[in-house]
Structure formats: C-alpha cells, structure tokens
C-alpha cells in the first residue's frame, strides 16, 4: 500500500463561513516562560500554516522554542489536525497529521499490538513536535531518535508557500534540517513512519538501587546491552561517596506468557491544582524528596510486570506538574557528555553541579546511543544528563557554568529544553551549526520563520 497516495498536494480554498480571528494572547512553554503572540487554531493545517512563522504542538518543550519571537508573530497550533491518514495493519506503516498526539496513538494501538518506535518521557506530545525536536526515549541506546531513525517521509509547508513532500531521497537537505530543526525550516503537516510490533501491551521491568555515579556508568552500559529500554534517576544533591546514587529502571515488552492475556486498564490522571509558592522548593524539601525516592526501593531490586504508562511516562500521572515550580517557572538543563570525554566526565559534571547547589528533585541519566542524522539532533554517543532548575536570580550563572563544563568536555545541550544558553556558547558546542544555517537560508532566504529561541541563539 502506498501511503503517500492519500496525500493530495492539490490545494484549494474552502470557505469555512468564518473569518479567522487574530487576537494577541499569552503563550507559555512547559517551563512557564511566556511571550505574547497570535495563535491560529483549527483542523485545516494546509490553510492555517500559510501565514504562520512558527508551528506549535502541545507545548511540552521546556524552553523558548515554541514561543513567538515577537508580539505580532503568528503561530499555528497543530493540535486539532489530528487524523490518521493511512494505516496498514500488515506492515505497521502509518501516516498522521502533525497535530496527532502520542497519547492518542498509544490509546488506539497499544492494545492492538503496536507501539511508536521512539517515545519521549511524556505522551502529551505531537508528532510534529517529535520530529522538530528529533526526540529520543528510554530506548535511545537501542532505537535512536524518532525523526532520524524512523520517519519515512513528511509533507511540509515551506517559506515560499509551496507544499513539499520530503524524505531521504526527495529534498534530503530540507528533510534532515527539519528533523531536530526546532520548526525553523517550515511547518510539518504530515508525518509517515512505521510502528513497532510488540509482544503484549505490558512491560517487564527491573529497577534497582545504584550506589553512586561510577557504578551507574558501568550499569548503564552493561544493562543497556541486555535491555532495550533503560533510564536512571540520580540524586544530584548528595556529595562524596554517595554522589550520583539513584535508581536504574530497565525493561522490555512482556511476552504473551508473562502478560497472561491481562487487558490493559486506562490510567486515571490527577491534575496539580495551583502554582506552589517559591519557598516550597528548597534544599531541604528536595533532599527529603530524593532520599524518599531512593529508599522507596527497600529491596535493592524489584522486578516484574508493569503498566507501560508507569514505566514510560511516570510524570504524566499528574497533569500540570510543572506548576510545582511556581509562577516564575523552571528550566531543564539537558546535556550529553560524549564517550570520548572519558568515564570521569559524569562525575566531574556532577561535582560542579552539586557545588553550585542547583538543587533538582529530578535528574535523569541515560545512555544516548548513536548520533542522530538530523542536522541539529541532540544525541551523540555518550551519557545524557537532564536536571530541572527552578528559576531563581542565579539561574543564568548556573547554566553558564554548566555550559562551560559541557564545552570543555566536547558535549552539547538539547535545544528543546533550553532557555538560557548564550548564542556564543551554543556556537562553541555545535560544529554543525553553519551547515544547518545554510540549509535554513536556502529554504527561507527572506527569514519568514522564527521563534524566541532562534532569535536568541541565531539572531533571527
């Protein structure tokens, strides 16, 4: 079955009986940074994407990548463009509109024996957003990134107004620059990829306590070779012998026998009711939280069948958990430390972090896997570390200092999480930048597309 046959590149203007209303509104990132802009919403992405300077999905990027650069900028929100355009149950090939969410895909296909080959730590993301950030998951060491390794083709609206179907053979420069390109090369309207077959909708997982960062480095690599999915949570507050202690969570899809035909229940979700005041998160509460989290595992090891939502998306259990950080919001610092920097790199990074006192109740560590093929994709061979920082007066200094370490070690940061990196620092960690900017210039010579992030880092 050719999936592309359904995509009509013919356009027409249909009168929907209503003029589009353009009102300025406050647009927020997941870290609760806000900017004013004009947001268009609707089902018809082909029409709505014509004027827009940036597309936006479910706003799960922590940083300023889905925020407008200017008050008069028009954004198109893709959420309502959420249809499956083709699905072949034999091969698992699927083509969807860019606003479809991973949540909806899971709801429909987990129980039918299919899963998205890459899934980030939340399912409230759109496929457009997953391509634009070239997301990686718990399985990046095994399955790579969504865009780089799994997208077969996509339909885009580019700056001169044309609709272009691009893939590795057709307009490959546009294709590879768009994967991980943070929305700056054009609007993604449709995405085609292949679902992975799974043995059951349940996960068989093992989680255990790890004593410190050195032990973590060993286990990430050893366990990674045996388990397709794996991620670690580390305590970034403890110093000395306990530095980098935490939990390692690995898993695989349960076999039919293990699942015993049990049907998968739908998870209930709570919602965080309000913004916490700033004093609620301090060194003491964070430390207590981390200790509790570590010791929650009384036995050193726990193994068995788990709901995939608990395994892949623990944070989705509470909607709007980002309000915990108060109105001032927070940022996530995520970097990769390349294998070439040696085994001591993570310990060095953590010692700088703990000395800065950048308390974070959640710090995630994983094996990054192979480098993404997207021109600005984040992963490279090495260890990724991600930590949340409540925004305080010294956040800029903390990020600057951490960036200095990352530059020295030859690593880089993840754009979809970033709000504070300085343009000159980003350039120093990104040798691929000029090649990306050249493709962007080719497809958008007049500078139509921009975001708050692109203005901060690339000047437009």
């Amino acid at each position: 079955m050719s999936l592309v046959s359904l995509n009509s590149s013919v356009e027409k203007n249909t009168d929907s009986g209503k003029q589009t209303r353009q009102v300025r509104e406050l647009v927020a990132s997941w870290g609760n940074q806000t900017r004013k802009g004009i947001v268009l919403r609707g089902e018809r992405l082909k029409e709505l994407s014509r004027e827009a300077v940036l597309a936006r999905g479910l706003g799960r990027s922590y940083g300023d990548s889905a925020l407008p650069a200017d008050e008069s900028d028009i954004l198109v929100e893709t959420m309502m463009a959420d249809r499956i355009l083709a699905f072949d149950p034999e091969s698992g090939h699927i083509r969807v509109e860019a606003g479809m969410s991973l949540f909806e895909l899971n709801r429909l296909f987990l129980r039918r024996g299919f899963f998205c080959p890459v899934s980030p730590g939340t399912q409230f993301v759109t496929f457009g957003g997953m391509v634009a950030s070239d997301v990686h998951g718990k399985m990046s060491h095994a399955s790579g990134c969504f865009g780089s390794h799994h997208v077969n083709s996509m339909l885009m609206r580019v700056a001169d107004g044309r609709l272009i179907e691009c893939n590795a053979d057709c307009e490959p420069d546009l294709f590879w620059a768009t994967i991980g390109g943070m929305g700056l090369t054009g609007h993604i309207l449709e995405v085609e990829f292949t679902l992975e077959r799974i043995t059951s909708p349940w996960i068989y997982s093992q989680s255990r306590r790890i004593a410190n960062i050195d032990s973590f480095m060993d286990h990430l690599l050893d366990d990674g070779a045996q388990w397709p999915h794996g991620v670690g949570w580390i305590d970034c507050v403890s110093q000395g012998r306990n530095m980098g202690r935490g939990l390692l969570d690995v898993g695989r899809w349960a076999s039919e026998d293990e699942a015993q035909g049990r049907s998968l229940p739908t998870k209930r979700r709570a919602s965080f009711p309000m913004y916490l005041p700033e004093w609620a998160l301090n060194r003491f509460t964070v430390k207590s939280f981390n200790t509790l989290y570590y010791w929650k595992h009384l036995q050193k090891k726990r193994e068995g069948i788990r709901h995939p939502d608990d395994f892949f998306y623990p944070l989705d259990a509470i909607l709007n958990w980002n309000k915990v950080y108060g109105r001032r919001g927070f940022t996530q610092y995520q970097c990769v430390l390349p294998s070439s920097a040696g085994r001591g790199a993570a310990r060095h990074f953590l010692s700088v972090l703990t000395a800065l006192g950048g308390a974070s109740p959640l710090c995630v560590i994983k094996d990054c896997g192979e480098e993404g093929k997207g021109m600005l994709s984040f992963p490279m061979k090495g260890i990724s570390i991600a930590l949340d920082l409540a925004i305080r007066d010294n956040t800029q200094q903390i990020v600057d200092r951490l960036n200095q370490v990352v530059i020295e070690l030859g690593g880089r940061i993840y754009l979809t999480k970033d709000t504070f990196t300085r343009a000159e620092d980003f350039r120093r960690m990104e040798p691929r930048l000029d090649a990306f900017l050249a493709v962007r210039e080719k497809w958008d010579p007049k500078g139509k597309f921009s975001s708050a992030q692109s203005k901060r880092l690339f000047g437009r």
């Binding site: 009986g17 589009t20 209303r21 009102v23 268009l40 089902e43 249809r83 429909l108």
Partner: protein, 246 residues
C-alpha cells in the same frame, strides 16, 4: 449502530464519529468537501477495531438538492440505517452578522431552514423503515434571547423548537429525536474566543452525545453544568438581561 453523520470532518462531529466507530459501529460521512471527507474516512478506518472501511458522500447544507441523494447513498452503503446525526452548522460573531446581512441570511438558512429540511428527509426515511434515531446539535444559545448571540441564537432556538415537537409527535412511531445543546466547546468554531468557565472538550461532549443516543434521551446539555447555567439564565428578568452582556 449504523449511522449517517453530517458534519463529521471537524470539531464535535469528528470526535463523535470516532466514539461511534471505536465502539465497533459503522458510520457513513456526508459533507461538503471531498478532500476532507476522504481524509476523515481514512482516520475512522484506522480507528475501527476491525479496520472496516468508512464510506462518504457529498452533502452541502447550503444546497438542499444534495440532501436526498446523500441519504440514499448512505442507506445503500450501510444496509439498515439506525441513526442520523447532524453536527454541521455555522457560527459567526454577532458584530460580523450585524454588519454583513448576507452572511446573516446564510447562517439563518443553513442552521435553521436547511437543517430542518434535511431532518425532514431523514425523518421520512427513518419512519419508512420502522423507526430510528435522529440526533441534531442545536445550542444553549437558543435558550434565551441574549445580546451576543441574537442571530445565531435565533437560528438555534428555531431548530430546538422543531426538534422538541418532532420528538413529541413521532416517538410513539419509533422515531426518537435528540436535541443536543452544547455550551462552550473548544473547537475550531470557537477558536479565538475567550473560553468561559465550564468550557468543554469535543471528546467529552462526544461521549455524552453517544450515551444519549444509546439511551434515547430527548434533550442533552453538555457539558452538563450548562444545563444549570441556562436554567438560571432562562429565569432572569428581562430588565436584568437588558443590562448584562451575557
């Protein structure tokens, strides 16, 4: 439940089509845009538990000559017809309607005269085969004369009136008529408007409508809180309505 759905390409209709399909039923889409219909039919097929195909045909609420044919094609496709649903409708701001009288005429025609005409064809067809359900989306805007929805509200008031009468008159003969009155629902229709408290999502609203069809409830407010809100609004004295802008 075999259903013909007019308006399933967007908003509440899209969500309702999915709700019906995912329960393993058959839907036949009718609407005005072939491209959109084909894409929505593909979406429904992928969501159907048995991957069953969804058919579609053209039907434009601005063109009454398209109604009979669409119903005939739908019935032929589905075999036995159980339910006809209309979620298609037009909305425009009162200020735009006041300025553009031609737009007002179009909206009044589509939402009232043509929707009722369509329902008349559907009524005859359902009665002829021994009964069934006719479910139509009206609006809370038709419950009381209000400043911000004078024209749109009037079209929906007329529609609600007709649907109530139809249910009184034909329920004995097996025709169940359901009048759905949504409050504010976040769809493309309301994009750009400031959402009031108790705004709903199309998915939740669709679940309520599906249940109402199963139960045969003649009148549904959704989200439910709007039933309470409108009960108060209907009782407010005229002097108060003249002063407030709700």
């Amino acid at each position: 439940m075999n259903t013909i759905l007019l308006g399933g390409t967007k908003g509440i209709g899209r969500a309702l089509a999915r709700e019906i399909i995912e329960a393993g039923n058959q839907v036949f889409l009718i609407g005005r845009d072939p491209d959109e219909l084909e894409r929505s039919a593909a979406d429904l097929r992928a969501r159907h538990p048995q991957n069953t195909e969804t058919g579609w045909a053209l039907c434009d609420l601005e063109d009454p000559s398209s109604f009979e044919k669409a119903l005939t094609l739908g019935t032929a496709y589905l075999g036995r017809l159980h339910t006809v649903v209309v979620t298609a409708g037009l909305f425009a701001l009162q200020e735009d309607l006041e300025e553009d009288t031609e737009l007002a005429r179009r909206l009044l025609t589509v939402n009232f005269a043509n929707t009722v005409t369509f329902c008349e064809y559907a009524r005859k067809r359902l009665l002829a085969q021994g009964g069934g359900t006719l479910c139509v989306l009206s609006s809370v805007a038709g419950d009381r004369g209000r400043k911000p929805v004078a024209l749109y509200g009037a079209s929906k008031a007329g529609l609600s009136h007709y649907l109530e009468s139809l249910d009184h008159k034909y329920r004995d003969q097996g025709l169940i008529t359901i009048c759905v009155k949504p409050g504010f629902v976040r769809t493309g229709m309301t994009a750009g408007l400031k959402a009031p408290p108790f705004a709903g999502n199309p998915e939740d609203v669709a679940k309520t409508i599906y249940r109402a069809i199963e139960k045969g409830s003649p009148l549904v407010y959704t989200p439910a809180m709007w039933g309470v809100v409108m009960a108060v609004i209907r009782r407010l004295p005229r002097g108060v309505m003249r002063r407030i802008n709700f």
